[in-house]
Symmetry: C3
Subunit: 139 residues, 3 copies
């Protein structure tokens, strides 16, 4: 049993879902672990992680609109406003989605389903450098 | 330290929470791992996982109604409609719950609390074959 | 590769986010694991876990208010009312947040971001004894 750790840097451009399946899978497969567990950890509280459909881009657009509706940029709702109108909605969206994901590895590959993609969900309007930690354990 | 992997097939009949605690616990206990970590991964984006109370079935009914209210089958809200009126609500409900759960194992058993059950949450109206990957690591 | 398990007892006083970063980090660091994976598991269905900003307390107040708004203590909405008006909202809030978190360990420390804190989210009004299982795997 052995483990590997990697820090993946993603420069987001604006709000929305950024697919990172290729970078994550490629790194995991390079570790030559046949069976094990991959953990993906987002080191931020205004961006988060999500596994979602990677076929129809309309699904992403609808998901983004749903989260904008449930946590709108409406200053009157929030006390915390010093970091901009999109900051408190960002924390709420992060709380409703995932800071961390774990995906088993079998036959050297992530066991993702056919339509599953891994996404970094940027909740801020401005571009941000984001750091995702990848941890792989197995043999 | 060793690991075991299993693919659990669940045939859902309709929308709602399906308890899978017995199947998951039974498989985990058969691996004769005294201490370790169980990961449960759902290979779908219109079904998800949840740990919830398994005592009063009214809790499940109220949870299902809450998610139907927050993500209603209302075509006007969504661009993605080609797979039926229940498909985009399904993706939203999956985003709000879990694709993956991890549960420590101690003394050969999952450390679930007294009232905790593991559920597959089917979000589509029609019956679906669902595949859940179980990964156990420990000794 | 070795593992350690600990049961952390938290006595909550009322509804809201209780920071547990110090207790969790201190236990993890005492295990002298340089690299590995920490799993935090909440053994309850009316309390949950969350990683959120630990700088401005207004973020916590806004998060708590958001969850109170989305799952209000409104008896007419729920069938399950026998355990009090705050019980079904508690289950909904737990379903929308996390029962379990996993955080990689590198250089003997959790890889939490600068502003990330680990919180136990108490959803019941009355004080409750809560048990959190910590599982650390690594070397």
């Amino acid at each position: 049993m052995r483990q590997a750790l990697h820090r993946l840097q993603i420069h987001t451009k604006h709000k929305g879902l950024v697919e990172i399946t290729t970078q994550v899978s490629a790194w995991a497969e390079r570790q030559k672990i046949t069976a094990g567990l991959l953990t993906i950890f987002c080191r931020h509280t205004s961006a988060s992680l999500l596994i979602q459909e990677n076929a129809d881009p309309d699904v992403r657009a609808d998901l983004e609109r749903f989260f904008d509706t449930i946590a709108p940029e409406d200053g009157k709702r929030y006390i915390h406003r010093t970091e901009g109108p999109d900051d408190m909605p960002a924390h709420i969206k992060a709380a409703l989605t995932q800071t961390q994901l774990a995906i088993p590895v079998a036959s050297g590959r992530l066991v993702l389903g056919t339509w599953q993609g891994i996404y970094l969900f940027e909740h801020r309007r401005a571009p941000h450098p984001r750091e995702i930690v990848l941890h792989l354990l197995g043999e």
